[in-house]
Amino acid sequence: MKKDMILAGVGGQGILSIATVIGSAALEQGLHLKQAEVHGMSQRGGDVQSNLRLSSQPIMSDLIPRGGADLIISLEPMEALRYLPYLSEDGWIITSTAPFVNIPNYPDMEAVRAELGKLPRVIAIDVESIAKEVQSPRSANMVLLGATAAVLGILDPDKLRDGIRRVFGRKGEAIVETNIKAFDAGFAASLKNRQ
């Protein structure tokens, strides 16, 4: 069993926290893991991605081949589309619908929506609004993780909740609860979005 995922976003959005929680849950479950990250110049507001691979078998490449990603998890809708050639034919895109516009030529949002709409398996939710609704405005990334949990498969949602507890534990119980709330809201929104 394997799950290959590309986490995408704009430098500073917090995709690595999502990877850290998934990684923590995967290790706890005894899975093999490889996670390639972007450090350095691109972190300054540029496009960033992380290739995260989980498997019950040893993993060779740190990079996911084209057509191999089971999931693209993106905190930004155009960034989700950037990695389309890496998505497998039966893969899922789970993305935030809120554009991060820090470039002058950002495409028309209608076109972005239409492009996502052409794909067979997309969960597109407004993670920032959902985070605010559950009073966890700074946990939009955990909303996205919750939305992912609904289709991830290889890891049980409860294992991911435990992962959140481990990763955020040293910041205090209040922060843990805020993040769990965001996760649960994302999970619920994802189930609803699929209907």
Partner: protein
């Protein structure tokens, strides 16, 4: 029981060095190498053992510090990004002549595809240039193990070892199992062959002849190394030579095992004997190597019977850029996997200076003033502020390497460029700018040096900057007239003052320094949280 940790390749290297009995790491920050030193700085184990881990001013001082530690019999690690090896090329080459006493490992992290670099030079060439062994691990576990092996080899053979990393290994995490046994640091002891540490020609000639002999031995060691494996396969149409990380991409494409005979190479000098053994079995060779075609070029003249060799030179693989599982797949002649077409509406999102960054305000003021000086040229340097080349600022005309701003500005000024402006960051100034400033003072060059001081080494994530709090004193000490060392605070409300100061110093026909100082907003945010 063995301990399992999820580590970046860089962190695995750091842990491997600590467990090998490291006494000190010497380094200057540079992507993708920075996390090696940061791991050691954050390690309680390193603190308990008083492992030296302060940042050095630059890679040359780092390399020399480590060489001194090796001279004293202790184990030292040097870390930098690949272009840092150029900065320390002199002591690096010299260290092959002196040899190592305490284990000396030089970790050079290459950045093929230039994710965060100005070129994609392949550090392995420096290994053969210096006649030094090179270790090139292929995964995080191997990084951990090969780091200790590199220290062992260095001490056994009395030679520094170049440990070559690349971005994908440095910045990728995997589970690493660490040793149960941790080695103690060496006791101080002096070299057994003291003459070779004095590289006068009379000593160096003798040592060079010895090194040439040793290098042949290093190649034989590589041929029998447990890190270089020749594995057979049933399909003899092709043999694959897979170096370092490239082996992963090969195996990714053959989950049930590679049908071709494979030579996995992780220790150099390249073991030509194994290449001959492989070539004798197969009809052609495919060379997979991350970076430049070192092995592929080295194969010329190795075989008695000609054999077709494919790789980066004949277009089987792209000539530039990092390897990918897909590029390797194509080179193996396997069909593409089904995939979605790239979306046509996606546009590039280049990195940019952060909102609120002081470099932004500096460039805004500088550009405003330079509107009145049509002939002005701005010589840039390496750091976040290099992003000032991009719109909306378009403020720079050059960027070459660490410290080139001020020295290029002098050559241009001498050639008639006016105003000739240099822009450098605080950390880059103390890395390689100070000597250039002394040149400017000694020739009374008509240049304006702007030090955009954000009190940190920003681009690599906010490491200490060597001259923080002392830049005015350094410039005055070098001999700049204190009346022309000006300090400004880059904020929108200060634009009028900033512009006035910049204009005054452009109009002064001599060396002026404008220190433009405001803390990096990334480090400021972190400080505010504490």
């Amino acid at each position: 029981m063995a301990d399992k940790k999820l580590l970046l390749g860089d962190e695995a290297l750091a842990l491997g060095a600590l467990h090998a009995g490291l006494t000190g790491v010497y380094a200057y920050p540079g992507t993708p190498s920075t996390e090696i030193t940061e791991y050691i700085q954050g390690s309680a184990f390193a603190r308990e053992r008083k492992v030296h881990c302060d940042w050095s001013c630059n890679e040359k001082t780092a390399m020399e510090g480590a060489l001194g530690m090796s001279y004293a019999g202790k184990r030292a690690l040097v870390c930098f990004k690949h272009v840092g090896l150029n900065v320390c090329a002199d002591p690096f080459m010299g260290s092959a002549t002196t040899g190592a006493n305490g284990g000396l490992v030089i970790a050079s992290c290459d950045d093929p595809s230039m994710h965060s670099s100005q070129n994609e030079q392949d550090s392995r060439f420096y290994g053969s240039f210096a006649m030094m062994p090179v270790f090139e691990p292929s995964n995080q576990q191997e990084v951990y193990e090969m780091t200790r092996a590199a220290f062992d080899y260095s001490e056994a053979k009395g030679i520094p070892v170049l440990l070559r990393m690349t971005t994908r290994l440095s910045h990728s995490r995997a589970v690493v199992e660490s040793w149960e046994s941790v080695r103690e640091q060496n006791q101080m002891h002096f070299p057994e062959r003291p003459r070779q540490w004095v590289t006068l020609p009379v000593n160096a000639r003798e040592r060079n002849r010895q090194l040439i002999k040793d290098y042949a031995g290093f190649e034989e060691d590589a041929a029998i190394s447990r890190f270089n494996l020749l594995e057979d396969g049933p399909d003899r149409r092709m043999g694959v030579i897979a170096c370092g990380l490239a082996w992963n991409y090969l195996m990714e494409n053959f989950p049930d095992g590679c049908p071709f005979p494979v030579l996995k190479v992780s220790q150099y000098p390249f073991p030509r004997r194994l290449a001959r053994e492989l070539a004798a079995k197969v009809d052609s060779l495919l060379v997979l190597e991350e970076g430049q075609p070192l092995v592929e070029e080295r194969l010329k003249g190795v075989f008695d019977t000609p054999i077709p060799v494919h790789g980066r030179l004949d277009g089987a693989l792209p000539r530039d850029g990092e390897l990918t599982p897909d590029a390797v797949r194509a080179a193996l002649g396997l069909p593409e996997r089904p995939q979605f077409a790239a979306s046509e509406i996606v546009v590039p999102r280049p990195p940019a200076l952060c909102q609120g960054c002081g470099h932004r305000d500096f460039y805004t003021a500088l550009n405003q003033v330079l509107k009145d000086y049509q002939g002005a040229r701005v010589f840039g340097d390496i750091g976040c502020y290099t992003l000032g080349w991009m719109p909306p600022f378009s403020a720079l005309h050059t960027c070459v390497e660490m410290g080139a701003s001020l020295t290029m500005a002098q050559g241009a000024a001498y050639s008639g460029v006016w105003p000739s402006v240099a822009v450098i960051g605080d950390s880059t100034f103390t890395h390689s700018g100070m000597t250039g400033l002394l040149d400017a003072v000694n020739t009374n060059a008509d240049v304006t040096l702007c030090i955009s001081d954000n009190l940190t080494t920003g681009m690599t994530g906010g490491q200490d900057s060597a001259g923080t709090g002392r830049l005015e004193a350094i410039c005055a000490g070098i001999g700049v007239d204190p009346a022309h060392i000006r300090t400004i605070v880059p904020l929108p409300k200060n634009y009028p003052d900033m512009e006035k100061t910049i204009r005054e110093e452009l109009e002064y026909h001599g060396v002026s320094v404008i220190i433009c100082r405001r803390e990096c907003i990334q480090t400021a945010k972190r400080h505010a949280k504490k």
